[in-house]
């Protein structure tokens, strides 16, 4: 398989952080964070409006993204832009994770319910 560097792989998604971002560092000292994003919206499909829900893990690597993600609390609204990757290379596992390249925090209120 040849690599196509310019091939499209871009996902922009808004939603709520479902859990605080778990932070760690790679042995070389690169910060790596992971949190779950809950998405809930209405979209148009086949001409009809419908409801969409999903939950996707977001991976955040390196400064300054990790600093932003480190401050996320459950319920905070974010817009994440990035690329998706198969989480587990094992046969039959197709779960995707989103690797963030940009994170915008849309509001700083966390929810308590």
């Amino acid at each position: 398989m040849t690599l196509v560097p310019s091939a499209h792989n871009c996902l922009i998604i808004t939603g709520q952080a479902a859990v605080p971002c778990e932070m760690r560092a790679s042995p070389a000292g690169v910060p790596i964070g992971r949190f779950l994003l809950d998405h809930h919206s209405r979209q148009v499909e086949a001409g009809f409006s419908r409801e969409v829900r999903c939950r996707i893990p977001v991976i955040v690597c390196g400064e300054p993204l990790a600093r932003t993600a480190g401050q996320l609390l459950p319920g905070m609204q974010v817009r994440v832009q990035g690329f998706v990757r198969r989480d587990n290379p094992r046969e039959g596992e197709y779960r995707l994770v989103l690797h963030a390249t940009h994170i915008d925090v849309l509001n700083t209120e966390s929810f308590e319910d």
């Binding site: 790679s26 042995p27 070389a28 000292g29 690169v30 790596i32 991976i59 990757r85 290379p89």
Partner: protein, 738 residues
């Protein structure tokens, strides 16, 4: 005319001596074998050894070069060591020049005189200096550096070497000159080395019956050759037996030579020897400077040191009146030299004892199977010490099955709970993990890439604190990758457990507890080992983490729990000696527990709780294990029931290494009656430091058959014009296959 010809052994891998003429103006009557001679060799000058004086040479006498200088007025080694060297050269089939070199301290190899160097002059304070110092206030204000140095000298009544003054002030040389010009300090010769702390003879401790019997057996044989195997469980007081036997030897006006493994030569052991035995102790190990080693060597040769303690190479120590040879931890692998001249110091000690007609004592809690076998056949006198001194019982060993257990950084929950319980009782816990570094490899979590060494068939170890990947086989290192070189992910992780990782995990688990980690990395700086040991000796609640460095010889009275973190790595080695090694290591580590009044416990974490080796060791002890292992060796006709030699070859190109071995095999064919030739086969780690390694194993039931073959075969091998790209070596009685 019949000229005198010097046959010189030159330190080179050439299996022959070289003929030279005596240097001009030299008195032939003063020449003795064993003297060092400076000779021209190729384009260099080297220090060679006079092996023999001859009158004929196969070469044209006119083409012989004269030696440049005779460096000694008497042979540098005593006659008995020369005999030992010649024996070793024949037995190990190794070039004589290199054998000589191995037997001498570095400075003597380099041609330094075999005499104590003049002591460096020291600085002393004068009477005028005392007066000046008394008027301290004004001097302190005008010349603070001079004041500091003067004040320092005031505390050195014996004077201070210039080197030691360097750290006192920034420019000590200039300040010293100023003090001398004012007449406040002077430089003069150092006083003669006074022998260390005066010897106060201490009442010996009360002996167990077994100790008394062992001492009696050895001291009744001081006038003849006899090998004793002192098989004493850890903590049974082997050192006390050595000490009392040495005292008896000294009383006969003879000297004692004690060999210990590098790791076993602890400050504790030396302190104990110094306390109990009179006179200066000659100590030789790799932590000393070349000058210190030469000094110890000379003290031994002159007979001023009555007791000589050293590591492997001390087996060649010159003694003025040898009386006994003691090898502590005789099973230890470090007694076998693993490169160049591959001798076994324990085996050579037995030969030396035989040549000298003096007893040899081999001591260990876990003797090598070779020694057990010799004791079974009554070639060695067996002296068992089955009980711990002070009646302490052997710590119970528990096998902890960690299958399906949640593990936290290699630690199971039950082990963590036990650690906590012992710490809460203000006791010490020792955790053994024979792998230094943070993790034995760096792994890409996304694609599975591993930190392979560029030069070896091995992974590079992750060292987190120093931020480096280091190959523990060839020493190559590089910074830790930030990205996976294969897929570009930053999610790289340390895979597996090393002592550094264990330390970090335990700091989180027990933040209020002092942790001492002891491995090659944490003790690299001079004096750091001593500091660590002092901390441990101070007692109280503490966690000790370490590799085999921690496992041997130390006496930690407050340790009541020993945890073996990972027993599995040693259970399934490919070497037929793997199980013997593992059993020895487990028992050595276990022996650290409960050495004082408090009882100890040992816990072994394993995924193979039913492994027969663990079962036998735990329920029936080392003697039972050794008997089983020897029965297996006998059935498989492996050493000590057969004798081996290993011809190793390595080259950048794998074909060349095998090609050389094929040639060697062809040469061996017609001679190989009564022996087995196995190979050529690739070494267990085929590529190391960029070279491919292969070997040919030669095995015979009869030692004489093997050596008769080797004598003829090596002559052919040395005569062969071999591929210069191939490096090869012959290992007699190999202890490791790679």
């Amino acid at each position: 005319m019949s000229g005198l010809i010097l046959r010189i052994a030159v330190p080179s891998p050439l299996y022959r001596t070289f003929d030279y003429l005596p240097p001009p103006g030299c008195d032939p009557a003063a020449l003795r074998p064993g003297m060092r001679v400076r000779v021209p060799f190729g384009r260099r000058q080297v220090i060679g050894f006079l092996v023999e004086l001859g009158t004929d040479t196969p070469l044209d006498i006119a083409s012989l070069k004269p030696a440049l200088a005779i460096l000694d007025t008497e042979p540098v080694l005593p006659a008995d060591v020369l005999v030992l060297i010649q024996w070793a050269q024949r037995y190990y089939h190794h070039p004589l020049g290199e054998v000589f070199t191995a037997a001498l301290p570095v400075l003597l190899r380099q041609g330094e005189p075999a005499a104590h160097p003049a002591p460096a002059p020291v600085w002393r304070m004068t009477a005028a200096g005392h007066t000046a110092l008394a008027d301290s206030a004004s001097l302190l204000r005008r010349a603070p550096a001079q004041w500091r140095l003067l004040d320092y000298l005031a505390h050195c009544p014996d004077g201070a070497e210039p080197e030691t003054l360097r750290p006192v002030v920034s420019n000590s040389t200039a300040v010293l000159r100023a003090l001398r010009d004012k007449g406040w300090a002077e430089q003069n010769a150092a006083p003669q080395v006074s022998s260390s702390a005066p010897h106060v003879s201490q009442p010996p401790p009360v002996l167990t019956l077994a100790q008394t019997e062992a001492i009696a057996a050895i001291t009744s044989a001081l006038d003849r050759f006899q090998v004793f195997l002192l098989e004493g469980v850890t903590g049974s007081g082997k050192t006390e037996v050595y000490l009392q036997v040495i005292e008896a030897v000294l009383a006969h006006g003879r000297q004692a030579l004690v060999l210990t493994p590098e790791i076993g030569l602890t400050p504790q052991l030396l302190a104990r020897f110094q306390e109990r035995l009179p006179g200066p102790l000659a100590v030789s190990h790799s932590g000393l400077s070349d000058a210190e080693r030469l000094k110890a060597w000379l003290l031994a040769r002159e007979g001023r040191a009555r007791v000589v303690v050293g590591t492997r190479s001390a087996v060649f120590a010159p003694l003025q009146a040898p009386g006994i040879l003691i090898i502590d931890e005789e099973h230890d692998l470090s007694f076998k030299q693993q490169d160049g001249f591959r001798y076994h110091a324990r085996d050579l000690a037995v030969i030396r004892g035989q040549q000298l007609g003096i007893p040899v004592v081999l001591g260990s809690a876990t003797p090598a199977l070779e020694s057990c076998h010799n004791a079974q056949r009554c070639r060695y006198g067996l002296l068992p010490l089955p009980e711990r001194v002070g009646g302490g019982s052997k710590p119970p060993i528990q096998i902890l099955d960690v299958r399906r257990q949640p593990m936290r950084e290699g630690l199971s929950q039950p082990l963590l709970e036990r650690i906590r319980a012992h710490l809460d009782r203000n006791e010490q816990v020792l955790l053994f993990l024979n792998r230094r570094g943070f993790a034995p490899m760096l792994l890409c979590h996304e694609c599975g890439w591993l930190s392979q060494c560029r030069h070896c068939d091995a992974r590079m170890t992750l060292h987190l604190r120093s931020q480096r990947l280091i190959c523990h086989h060839c020493g190559d290192q590089r910074p830790v990758d930030s990205l996976c070189p294969l897929c570009g992910s930053v999610d790289l992780r340390g895979f597996g457990q090393g002592t550094e990782r264990l330390e970090i995990a335990l700091r989180q688990e027990f933040p209020e507890t002092g942790i001492a980690r002891m491995d090659r990395d944490s003790t690299r700086r001079r004096g750091s080992l001593e500091t660590l040991l002092a901390e441990i000796q101070a007692g109280g609640r503490r966690l000790l983490i370490g590799t085999q460095m921690l496992a041997k010889g130390h006496h930690f009275p407050d340790v009541t729990l020993v945890g073996i973190i990972d027993a599995d790595q040693g259970l399934y080695g490919i070497d037929f000696r793997a199980s013997e090694r593992m059993a020895q290591l487990i028992l050595q580590v276990a022996g650290r527990a409960g050495r004082a009044k408090k009882p100890g416990t040992v816990i072994i974490q394993t995924h193979h709780p039913d492994h027969p080796l663990l079962r036998t060791l735990v329920s029936r002890g080392y003697t039972a294990f050794a008997a089983e292992a020897l029965a297996e060796r006998q059935a498989a006709l492996l050493p000590p029931f057969a004798h081996q030699a290993l011809l190793r070859a390595e080259a950048v190109d794998p074909e060349r290494a095998t090609g050389f071995l094929q040639m060697a095999l062809a040469l061996a064919g017609p001679l190989a009656d009564g022996l087995e030739l196995l190979g050529p086969a690739p070494a267990p780690m085929e590529r190391r430091a960029g070279r491919y390694r292969a070997h040919l194993l030669i095995q015979a039931i009869q030692r004489q058959v093997l050596h008769r073959f080797l004598d003829r075969w090596t002559t052919l091998l040395w005569a062969e014009r071999t591929d210069r790209q191939v490096r090869w070596s012959l290992d007699i009685d190999p202890v490791e296959l790679y």
